[in-house]
């Protein structure tokens, strides 16, 4: 456990200090990309899934130690748009700040909420520039799952540090996310018609695949957004019912 933690810290220090080397070596951009993707893979598990009318984000809360509070992983960017992050939290907070600023200035200019694909696309483009066109800065060490609603319906986008943008019906990033992805794949067609409660259960069950510890209201966070409902993080009371169903699962 300590070893794992130390190797993570070492990796992060190496990755964060790599900036000054970037200009010198050939093929170095690919390498630093890999470091950035690695940072995302070591982040806490984050799961997202959507139906016709709702999008749900679920994350595992992770604390640096028993004495610390857990880091916030889900952020609201606008009334209809929220983001879950996985990876270097500091990079995530910087991305959130940019997203919020983008949303506010778009609303100011156009008196309407920005389209989710446009918002996701803008941050993806920014990250692509850093990765491929600039030599002085390092890629952002965080992956984003952007959940939102707009005039075109509900959306779930994944943005990678490389600047790649993916439009998903369901996605999972972070540690042991492959297990969550495998679970979500089973429902890729049915989830389109899920009710909100079923969608929340799906997200929590997928999140459970990524951890060996039981899910409680202290260890996970769930947020919802829908065509009719603004983005919000569920409070502890709203979580108790789906979490209770989880413990009675035989799956």
């Amino acid at each position: 456990m300590a070893d794992n933690f130390l190797s993570k810290v070492r990796h992060e220090l190496r990755y964060a200090s790599r900036t000054f080397l970037l200009g010198v070596r050939k093929g170095v951009f690919t390498k630093s990309n890999v470091d950035a993707m690695e940072a995302v893979k070591q982040g806490g598990a984050t799961v997202g899934c959507k139906s016709k009318e709702y999008v749900v984000l679920a994350t595992l809360k992770r604390a640096a130690s028993e004495l610390s509070s857990s880091q916030q992983k889900i952020f609201r960017a606008d009334d209809g748009i929220g983001v879950a992050i996985s990876g270097l939290t500091a990079d995530g907070t910087a991305a959130i700040r940019a997203l919020r600023q983008d949303c506010t200035s778009h609303s100011f200019t156009f008196q309407s909420q920005v389209e989710v694909c446009r918002l996701a696309g803008r941050i993806a483009d920014k990250w692509q520039v850093v990765c491929s066109q600039r030599s002085g800065s390092r890629p952002s060490g965080v992956g984003l799952l952007i959940a939102g609603r707009d005039m075109r319906g509900c959306h779930l986008y994944q943005v990678c540090p490389s600047g790649n943008l993916y439009d998903h019906v369901a996605a999972a990033i972070g540690a042991r996310s492959q297990a969550s992805k495998t679970y979500l794949e089973k429902f890729q067609v049915q989830m389109d018609n899920f009710s909100l409660q079923d969608l929340i259960l799906l997200a929590l069950r997928a999140l459970k695949e990524a951890t060996s510890e039981p899910l409680t209201k202290e260890t996970c966070t769930v947020a919802v957004v829908g065509v009719e409902i603004p983005f919000r993080v569920l409070n502890e009371d709203e979580l108790s019912s789906p979490l209770a169903k989880l413990t009675t699962d035989t799956q």
Binding site: R76, R100, T104, S107, F108
Partner: protein, 229 residues
Amino acid sequence: MPHDGSGPTTRANWSPYDNNGGTVLAVAGEDYVVCAADTRMSTGYNILTRDYKKIDQMSDKCVLASAGFMADAVTLKKTLKARCTTYEFQNDKPMGCVSFAQMLSNTLYYRRFFPYYTFNIVAGLDAEGKGAVFTYDAVGSYERTNYSCQGSGQGLIMPVLDNQLKTVSPLVLPAQSSATPLSESEAVDLVKDCFATAGERDIYTGDTVEIWIINKDGVRKEYQELKLD
């Protein structure tokens, strides 16, 4: 100024400002605040619309009512609303009334040499839940009071409010609350009477009055018809 020597001096006749008229007022109580504005928008001797909302919600328990030049009022409100959103993201709580009042003053003074031609009143509940009214001039000088009136009907309404609501000075010792002792419904009735009064003699005030009532339960709106002339 252009001067051809033979006739009177000429002057530029384009102004960046226009006065769209209208009156706004607010009254603060112990645990509520009433903010009202007429809905007439005029230019010169013409009416542009009878249905223009001059009051906008800026934050949780804080509204801004503006009279004067509506183009400036709209832009001012847009700017402040965006700042309120940013504040809420950065501080994890909605912007309070008193903070908003200071921010409006700063925003107005920033344009000291090309002002927002707006006469504003901020109304809301302060951190203790007491009614708060802040009244401004066009360049940001402001004061917290218990009641105020701005706009074209100010001269007609303010003396009525002074007559009905003026209480002991807040500077007197021992400290006494100088909030109006009127109940919420009494304050709303007074506001309706004030607009009916102003509507009689001020040509820029009329059509309807939109009345916002803010208390601990939230925000409520009422409407009162006024004369259409």
